[in-house]
Amino acid sequence: MFKHILLPTDGSELSAAAIKQGVRFAESIGAKVTGLCVMPLQHPFLYETEIPMDALEHAAKRYKELADTYLAAIEKEAGEAGVACNVVYEKNDSPYQAIIRVAEQKGCDLIMMASHGRRGVGALLLGSETQRVLTHSKIPVLVYR
């Protein structure tokens, strides 16, 4: 029934667990996966003009490196399970918007994500990005706990 699962990751432990289960689920139903990592944009602060531009570039580079690590974990997991896998790196300050847009662009029919990520309060509330994706997505969302 589901053919293409989007697996957003923020590199947190819970999202790693969701990825594992997501790949397992994809394997069991013969679906492919797309891994997605969304990192914040770099904003120069206009009142601190002496911040060197290369600090921003450095931060951007660091985010990209981290994202590559997180996405490589998805590729590895999928590779081991024999699940077809693509990865996407996005820069956006509203991860949920990027998640929904990428899901639509890539034609995903399911978004599978952890109930909490980095900002989450374990077991108390639903993570803020997951909550926003659930609220705004027209594509089914599977929340992994």
Partner: protein, 128 residues
């Protein structure tokens, strides 16, 4: 991977759609399903004791009928696709608690429900 899907229903249109999708998913992954309908508790109001008993009986009857209708829709969808199906009717003022408890009690490994039900404001917010 998922073996037992819980399908909560409140009889709303959106939950009907979710049921169809849930049964479809269950079929494609060879899982069984349990349908659940949670109906509100009837509280006694201490004033107006005369009308209460009668009204209460009537609403309980109506709720049971409604739950039965909701659940038979699940049974029908499951039967048509050949998915093993059980149904449960529970009474509670906090459906979410009852849904989670039922899922745990029955060993469900996935809860599949619509984003909105009867109380929902479509497309604006997630159902409560």
């Amino acid at each position: 991977m998922f073996k037992h899907i819980l399908l909560p229903t409140d009889g709303s249109n959106l939950s009907q759609v979710a049921i169809q999708k849930g049964v479809q998913l269950a079929k494609s992954i060879k899982a069984k399903i349990t349908g659940i309908s949670v109906m509100p508790e009837q509280k006694y109001y201490l004033y107006q004791t005369d009308i209460i008993v009668q009204v209460r009986e009537e609403t309980v009857k109506q709720h049971k009928l409604q739950a039965h209708r909701n659940l038979s829709a699940i049974e029908k969808a499951a039967q048509e696709t050949g998915v093993p199906c059980e149904t449960v009717c529970e009474i509670s003022d906090h459906p979410y608690e009852t849904i989670i408890r039922a899922a745990e009690k029955r060993g469900c490994d996935l809860i599949m429900m619509a984003s909105h039900g009867q109380r929902g404001v479509k497309g604006l917010l997630l159902g409560s």
